[in-house]
């Protein structure tokens, strides 16, 4: 990998100037307002676009060189994975549920981010900004493609991977991530940068990729480690771009502060809710766990997010409004959601299961204040129902939050035994929310959220509540893709194939 720089004589700073700013020009026969019509309406005031600088000073020539190198590394491992029965090297097939959720909910989000950055790269007038957004647009489509490609190796052997694109649009739990990206993509260019570049990349992707991918390594899944780390190597640049964008807005004009703060409040909370799904992957779905969701939150949320907001205090920025409620929720959310995923697993294109004694002891150790007190009794009762031959299936479909679209599994701040009930009437229609923060987001932009396509109510509109017709429509094969892992085809196949691979019988 001995790469000689193309322009050894140019300093990094000179090269960056030549390859970005110098590519721009002043329009002569159209006004700037005509060329960049979307850059003012959000109210962000910019006086000098040249103040925007990519701290990595990455130019397109270097970008292609390093991205090509990343791809070569990625495909070397993907080939090795396919050639060496990589699908049998995972700890056990429960682990696949995390990959299925990832493919159905997160990878399509990468594609949305690609579309969004391609768009804002055109809408921003600054050349440095345009180049950075263009690189990120290419990164994001690479992420979607490498993830789909890596996981296609599992699709050859296991259920639940086959219809991720349709399920992204139709099945219920994916609408959480989809609505996050729809909300971002339908915002203006500056808000999009806060949503994806700042909140998602800087505050949240560390939690999605770093401990989870490290967990994939622990669970013998080299394919996922590789796409994860390959994607994450771009994220470091994306985070830096997001932070740069926020500092740029705050330095350009003091009037930008309240707008930026409102977006930080909004997108922190929206991102935190999407992470609810990630919390179940970390605490429940990795057979061999690397750290708990709580431990990951302490490092990447409390410590890293805390450092960031302390740094931004010099501009007048305070931590996001939902910060304290998030801190309380971290000890509950993975359990609340996983209990939901188990009881509604007839409607999921992945498997759920009842944690073993060993799993529960681990959870009790990681969540000493909450697991034994609130959640173990429910799991023990669910286990009793399964042992009696009446496994718990909750056919009462769930109330969804109008804003984040998660089932309302969350509890009142200060009382983990009571569902959080929040509702509001807007122009004669009633709307329900999972929390004060989702309600506040609705109240800020009601016209946006009244349009939410909520999967549960929709089931009673087009399909009049017919669950079998719904399964066909979401490409869910009953008895194959869904239900308890304990009696799943994935489990039987994995165990049979692994036995064949380790013996001569």
């Amino acid at each position: 990998m001995d790469m000689k720089s193309a322009n050894r004589k140019l300093s990094l700073k000179d090269k960056y100037r030549l390859f970005t700013r110098d590519l721009g020009w002043e329009p002569s026969y159209r006004t700037r307002e005509e060329i960049f019509p979307y850059v003012q309406y959000e109210g962000i005031k910019v006086h000098d676009w040249d103040k925007w600088e990519d701290p990595f000073r990455l130019t397109m020539d270097a970008y292609w060189k390093y991205q090509a190198e990343k791809e070569r590394k990625f495909y070397a491992i993907i080939d090795a994975h396919a050639q060496n029965n990589g699908h049998l090297h995972i700890t056990d097939a429960r682990y696949l549920s995390a990959l299925k959720i990832f493919l159905q909910a997160i990878s399509p989000g990468e594609f949305c981010a690609h579309k969004g950055f391609a768009r804002v790269g055109r809408e921003f007038p600054g050349v440095g900004t345009q180049v950075a957004c263009q690189m990120q647009a290419i990164d994001e489509i690479r992420h979607a493609q490498t993830q789909i490609h890596a996981l296609s190796n599992y699709n050859r052997f296991y259920n639940g991977f086959h219809a991720f694109a349709e399920q992204r649009d139709r099945i219920w739990y994916t609408s959480v991530a989809r609505s996050f990206f729809d909300d971002a993509m339908s915002a203006g260019p500056f808000e999009f940068m806060i949503a994806i570049g700042f909140s998602f990349e800087y505050v949240l992707t560390n939690l999605l990729f770093v401990p989870f991918m490290s967990g994939a390594a622990y669970n013998g899944d080299m394919a996922t480690v590789t796409f994860g780390f390959s994607a994450q190597s771009d994220e470091a640049r994306h985070m830096t771009l997001g932070l740069e964008c926020i500092k740029f807005m705050l330095e350009q004009d003091p009037d930008n502060l309240p707008i930026v703060q409102r977006w930080i409040d909004k997108w922190f909370w929206r991102g935190f809710r999407v992470l609810g799904l990630v919390s179940t992957m970390m605490d429940y779905m990795l057979p061999k766990r690397v750290m708990s969701w709580r431990e990951a939150w302490n490092i990447y949320g409390v410590e890293n997010g805390g450092a960031l907001f302390k740094d931004l205090a010099r501009y007048g920025i305070r931590p996001p409004k939902g910060w304290n409620d998030a801190e309380e929720a971290v000890d509950h959310m993975s359990h609340q959601l996983m209990l939901g995923l188990y009881q509604w697993s007839f409607g999921t294109a992945f498997h759920a299961w009842i944690p073993s004694d060993e799993d529960m002891d681990w959870l009790a150790k990681k969540y000493p204040e909450t697991f034994d007190r609130y959640y173990r009794p429910r799991w023990m009762h669910i286990r009793k129902l399964a042992a009696a031959g009446t496994p718990f299936k909750n056919y009462g479909l769930a109330k969804l939050c109008q804003c984040c679209q998660l089932p309302v599994v969350f509890t009142e701040p200060g009382d983990p035994t009571l569902s959080c009930h929040r509702e509001r009437v807007h122009q004669g229609e009633k709307y329900h929310f999972c929390s004060d923060h989702c309600q506040a987001l609705f109240e800020n932009e009601p016209e946006k959220y009244v349009q939410a396509w909520l999967p549960m109510p929709q089931l009673f509109q087009d399909l009049q509540g017919d669950l079998t017709a719904w399964m066909d429509w979401v490409f869910l094969r009953d008895g194959e893709d869904n239900g308890d892992y304990a009696d799943s085809l994935d489990r039987r196949n994995f165990e049979a194939w692994r036995a064949m691979a380790t013996s001569n019988q």
Partner: protein, 118 residues
């Protein structure tokens, strides 16, 4: 607050009652009974007697909870719109004033087998 937009921004609500083929949505939850991970979504005709909502729609869903058999329906405390409220079991949802997407909550003080309620 209006959505920040370049033109007038109008959103059309997706879940209006006329989209439900003559039925309506009702949400029901049992306070402090979180074996059921979220409030139930029921889709019923507004002419359904409230007693049928309880006996035919709700009760079968509650069976998984060890407290279900012990519910004394004459003693249940009800909330609608998060405020105390008394239903008439013999009358319809419409006559009971239960509108589209209303949330009903039931409370059964003393029943908390699986839950350490403070």
């Amino acid at each position: 607050m209006p959505v920040t937009a370049r033109k007038t921004y109008l959103g059309v609500p997706r879940d209006r009652v006329e989209n439900f083929h003559g039925k309506q949505l009702v949400y029901v939850s049992w306070d402090h009974h979180l074996l059921f991970a979220a409030p139930f979504l029921l889709c019923l005709s507004p002419q359904t007697p409230f007693g049928d909502l309880v006996q035919k729609a709700l009760l079968p869903l509650l069976q998984a909870d060890p407290d279900a058999a012990a519910i004394d329906w004459r003693q249940v405390e009800w909330l609608k719109d998060n405020r105390p409220w008394t239903p008439d079991f013999g009358r319809s949802l419409a006559d009971n004033g239960i509108g589209h997407k209303d949330q009903l909550r039931l409370r059964t003080p003393g029943l908390d087998s699986l839950y350490r309620v403070h």
